[in-house]
Symmetry: none
Subunit: 128 residues, 4 copies
DNA sequence: GTGGTCTAGACCACA
DNA sequence: GTGGTCTAGACCACG
């Protein structure tokens, strides 16, 4: 398990966590029947509030991905799910477009914007 | 001027308005030097509260896109001092970075993100 | 007559103008008995609204510095006045102190602040 | 914490509050890393409206003096990234320039201004 | 509980 | 008429 959330992001923590857990399932790190870490454990690992982790679990339960049993034992009850992204891709795409509008207004050339993007991309994916 | 906001959206109204105004500028409907409608007028047109519109204008002012001269009916004009531009470049760069963090959390691969960026870029600069 | 106002300043235009006129009197450019320019003329020279200039003249009249006769002819009726500044000096002094507080909070050293001040001073008084 | 505002002053309440908070930091009452009171608490203490306090906090955030983490009860801490510092230096420099413009309009000589600056500097750095 | 947003209505100084 | 500020009261999502 390797879940990380970015507290400075505008995306709600519980949503980030939910996505991360879905990823774990999608990648096979968590398989059908596996037990999820306890809420306390996961809260400890991620430095998140108990409520926040609880909310994520409830969310996954509502979507029928996991089952929560007494004593807060949670199990994966579904096979790989890959319907995670569609709406999210649109969101990201919209944000990219907004940046272009803004860059254009500020007189930033297409070339410069492209350059900035790649520079950021390089920095981001080499340091993480 | 043809600005519309969606009150049922989750995106704050003042941010929607800000984006709309940026679009007006990007498309050339509002040109450098043009006057924006008064806060009251725009509030009337859009059925928004004075404060909401005011917040948008302040936002654009903060970004160096428009200039607000108190009492002097008009406010407008894109600033183009080199100082301003540097700060804006940093802002744009930060936004790009934010997108990467988000994309990463959502499980979007580096490659896919790059693809999306170029697609947007192509669409944006060929249609305008 | 050499009156200038700074439209981007936070100080109200009519107050700036009033101060400028007081300066003209203080320096002897305008002497007791001299006629002030007409409101229209002065408004033209300074690119100010008629109302704004009018307000300045009224202000000076209220202080007993000038007399306004029919047809808007205005005359200086008082000798040099030097009581312009006292309150203003305090204001400036307060603002200087505020800058120091802020600089201190930001961890700017006394030396650096001093350096910045002198640099600004040099720039300002050589270009104007 | 001992913040007071003067409702009868011409200076906007939120600016007074901002200055007070800066003073708290400058004097060491609030140290780097400390938590500020919640917006609601401070509004209660000072008999100000939520929005007024909120505006102050946002102002300080904009200047990079405090950090606001939504919902995460606390906000605080002085940022010290080098990027931030550069922007702040520019801001300070701009404020110094503004003072010069004002002083000039008010008829304060270069020499007198310099004198006032050094007097303030001496007072400030010997008493603290 | 927190901060963030929105509305409604008011007053001010300035132009 | 303008923008700027302030208050009062409301709702929201998040933690």
């Amino acid at each position: 398990m390797n879940v990380k959330v970015d507290p400075s992001s505008k995306i709600p923590l519980y949503q980030q966590l939910t996505q991360q857990l879905l990823l774990e399932i999608a990648t096979g790190n968590l398989q059908n029947g596996d037990q999820l870490p306890s809420i306390r454990d996961l809260a400890g690992q991620t430095n998140l509030n108990l409520h926040t982790v609880h909310k994520s679990y409830k969310e996954l339960q509502k979507r029928g991905i996991i089952a929560i049993k007494p004593h807060s034992k949670a199990f994966v009850i579904i096979e790989k799910s890959s319907k995670v992204k569609k709406a999210n891709l649109q969101q990201i795409s919209m944000k990219i477009e907004q940046i272009m509008v803004e860059a254009n207004v500020l007189g930033i050339s297409e070339h410069l914007l492209q350059q900035m993007f790649h520079e950021n991309l390089r920095n981001y994916y080499t340091e993480s």
